[in-house]
Symmetry: C3
Subunit: 433 residues, 3 copies
């Protein structure tokens, strides 16, 4: 079992993936999403890509048209392109309709978005469910715009296409499933987007290498909100029946503090496993309330769906100044940040895999001494912490408490008890209920 | 819905009623009680007055004789009436037997009651269940009494009469009832007596004006202790079957801090509703323990009766220096004090009327945007508090949680959620489970 | 009922017993244990002594051989016995095998045990389940040993004999049992050994004097660990069926702070009764966690056995510097220390005996006044604490709550409520559910 948090190689590799994926112009739908999937399939070839046609009704929603964006720029009176998505795909408001018009600054202003408080940041703005258009620029650039005639040009199309999502099922020994969900619908932003699919892909690759898995893993890459709604619509019965735990994977690549957002009721195995790992490996992590939710746990934890989905993050969406701007970039997301996020999730999954309800096979304490597990000469202070841990584990192995619950009672990391449990199982002192 | 606390007109009107009722010589039984009812019936004509004969056994108790008090005075050697109930009906000990005797100060002293620590206050003393007599005077006056012969005269009678109580049933859409109980057995005292029947009468009048009421209201005016015991005796089955909430209304007219005394188990709808309203409208209210009870919740919450009755008060009986003295007067009880008490109770009742268990009619989040309930252009900080409140309400509308419980989770006043619920019901997003 | 903590006579008597028992060379088995029982039987003649043969399998354990120790000394080159168990029976490692050998200091050193931090203390060391030998000496003496030839002599024998334990059943009105367990396997140490059997014996003698007992008492004196395992093995069904509470009695004779170690789940009647008594009679007592257990509650509370056994102690084993050394002597254990321990346990047992679920025989409050239990003249401050306690007891006597639970709610010692309950029972106001 891994218990460390940083790992130089994995960090560098994940950062490389994020760097490769960064320039792609993703949106809810469209070629950028498919290009992203092509890249990820090189790492996890078993990833299946599904298509759902535009216009399809899913619960209260409709699958949106596909957005094709070919060109988008604003040229000044000298025909110099002062804003161009070729430089940064955040420049165009997501799902902008086509336009080709000359207008002066006063006419243009309502269609420009900038952030006065962050003069160097290009904001990220979308208009998914309302036909509109617009450009995003830094406040600094905006201040320099002269009152002249501009040529505003967007070559885009909203077509009846498809919404794509990716799914990877990794079979385990049982049909009980762990759901891992991340999203692939944001253009060039690193923490609030790429850290999610990149860490999820690394987790998928690692899970495949395991000799055996108790649980089946359902790993999905969906456009946020509409994608998870589509996915729940198509897999409702199975999700409800099989899911024993799961995590929304997002904002997990920067170097700041770890954070946690619980499931709606806050008392699922996912919550307990994640908080146990964070408590021991990332003490001081920030705990948010479910009232501060904002990603696909909104769907997974909605009434009637109620899946046990929690979120383990680093800097949470909406809570860091770079969020949803061009400053959420590959400097903010780092190799060590990604490696830390990967390892926390890996530890949580290992914890769930290793959790069980141990039961003592003996009435009264077993005699550890005759098995060489206890010092035979009793003198002051001779029972060390390791023996105490063993005896405490035995004392609580009543078949009702899980290793995780016992670890909380004894106040040791569960992975330490897993080691002790294996020794005691070998000595036929404990068994797995 | 009302959410404010002060209301000048209602305050002045209630204070007027209290002023009119103040001079009446009420006791457990007798003409003073009936005169009080005659006054209240002018405001709420549907109030029914019931009589129970003296000597009737009710549970462990016996309905007492009716006490008629005609005259009571102490005259000095010059035949000047130095103490006379014509000046203040607190001067005579309640249920005093008749006496007509001359005695010196030493003989008289054991029958005089005063409060050394409050030299200007006439104490309120009763001897309901033991034949005796006595006079109550201020310590100041007592200090001035000379050792001379006094003429002590009480013209009273204990007759086989009746105990009276008032009852007003205001029908609602269901048979489920809310019980409001107050008492009418104290002579000239304002907070610990008149604030109760006066506010209760105003609540009754307001309830009658409502277009519709979910619940039926059972509003009773009884002499304290024996009256509630009689009432429980006569209505036991119905009270047990129908009562879903209720309040003891007493000490609710002064201008000091609000206070709360829970039901015996402290976890009824009455407790939760009252504390929610107090938390939001009267933060800093004082919470008492049920161990500090002292009014008719003693009967309503007794083992086997166990009605969900809590007490919302301002200065609680026994806890303010003016309590049970002539200082508990119409200066201590004020128009704004009465209006505040009325409005707190009104808000609590409205809260119970509006409470329900909302259930979301959609799987996954409903699409608020297409209904104009959500901003379609997503940019930084665009989701405001009002939209958040809406989404949080939806997220917890699982059919198990009540609006009140959701309001506690989201930490907003329930009346705000009621407004949101109505909007969402209109849009067929939420329904009433 | 007793509620005090100190009692000079009982303290002196118990200290005398401890003094008499102190020099006996006890071990898990052997003549020292039997000599101890002979002494205790003089005080409680009904104590039955049982024998279990060496080699018998009990659960995961085997009854050890009997250890006979006749002589054990180290003589110096001048043939002077510098260490001799005739001076202190702690000098020889418990269960040492025989040896008769000359060796120099270097050869001897690995077989010597001392405590550098406590230079005057002879440590207590055993080697119960591993054949070995050794001597225990003070660090001070060890420092003075010269490098010369020593004659090391132990005349001991490990024979197929028996393990002895004592059992005393004191019948009560019901078959429900309270288990009291203590151990008799340590040589000359006073708190961590003799305080246990001495206080337990005094409790047994006191229980016999009671006119009636609701519960049957099962009082056992066993060698620690193996003895309780043997006892559980032989009495499993009855213990599981009958035991409603119980205590491990150890380390209960010194004058320092009281302490408490809960049962495994911490919520049994034993836990609640003990903590209630300690809270009121020994405020400031130290509460340990079950993780800090170390005596026979390890067996009684093991999974599948799960008896409701808690430990009430003074200085807990392992937590005081004198523990398991010659400093745990009859100066450390005092008459007042023993009397305090005895009285705490006595109060706990009385509490369990007197606990019941009172139920009020009246609907609404009973009229206390007509029974002379309530002041008839009502004036300010006239309801005193004693009347309040009575009314509070009645208010919670719903047949669901026990006297102990009501005492916790009202926050008074349960023994005060027992007195009130008896008065109210006499007046047919309360009954015993």
């Amino acid at each position: 079992m891994s218990v460390g948090l940083s790992n130089k190689e994995i960090g560098l590799e994940l950062h490389k993936w994020a760097t490769d994926l960064f320039p792609i112009t993703r949106s809810l739908t469209g070629p950028g999403v498919r290009e992203t999937f092509r890249y990820l399939k090189k790492i996890i070839p078993e990833l299946s890509i599904f298509s759902v046609p535009s216009g399809k009704k899913v619960f209260d929603w409709t699958v949106p048209k596909e957005w094709i964006i070919r060109e988008a720029y604003i040229a000044n009176k000298d025909n110099v392109k002062i804003i161009d998505i070729k430089n940064n795909n955040l420049h165009v408001v997501g799902y902008s309709e086509p336009i080709n018009k000359r207008m002066n600054l006063e006419e243009l202003n309502p269609f420009l978005h900038s952030i006065p408080d962050l003069p160097n940041a290009i904001p990220y703005v979308t208009s998914f469910y309302n036909e509109s258009w617009g450009f995003c620029i830094s406040e600094k650039q905006r201040m320099q715009l002269k009152d002249e005639e501009y040529h505003v040009y967007i070559d885009s199309e909203l077509i009846d296409g498809v919404l794509n999502y990716g799914e990877l099922i990794i079979k385990g020994q049982t049909d009980k499933e762990i759901l891992l969900s991340t999203y692939i619908c944001h253009p060039s932003m690193a923490n609030n987007e790429l850290s999610g699919p990149v860490v999820t892909t690394a987790i998928a690759r690692w899970l495949k290498t395991l000799e055996k898995r108790k649980y089946t893993y359902r790993i999905i890459f969906v456009p946020e909100t509409i994608g998870s709604i589509v996915y729940i619509n198509e897999n409702f019965k199975n999700l409800k029946k099989a899911t024993i735990a799961g995590f929304q994977i997002t904002c997990i690549g920067d170097d700041r503090v770890y954070s946690f957002l619980p499931s709606r009721l806050g008392n699922t195995l996912s919550d307990k496993a994640a908080e146990h790992v964070l408590k021991h490996l990332a003490p001081g992590y920030k705990k948010y309330s479910f009232l501060e939710r904002g990603s696909d746990e909104r769907q997974f934890c909605s009434p009637g769906v109620d899946l046990p989905i929690a979120s383990v993050m680093r800097s949470k969406y909406g809570e860091y100044p770079e969020y949803h701007t061009s400053l959420d970039n590959l400097d903010f997301v780092t190799p060590s940040g990604l490696a830390g996020g990967f390892n926390i999730l890996k530890n949580i999954i290992e914890l769930i895999e290793n959790n069980c309800k141990p039961v003592c096979l003996h009435t009264c304490e077993p005699q550890l001494g005759k098995r060489g597990l206890y010092p035979n000469v009793s003198k002051l202070g001779s029972v060390n912490d390791s023996v105490k841990k063993m005896m405490n584990l035995i004392a609580y192995s009543d078949g009702n408490l899980s290793l995780l619950e016992i670890a909380e009672i004894i106040d040791v990391p569960m992975w330490e008890l897993v080691q002790v449990f294996r020794v005691l199982k070998k000595h036929t002192i404990l068994s797995n209920n």
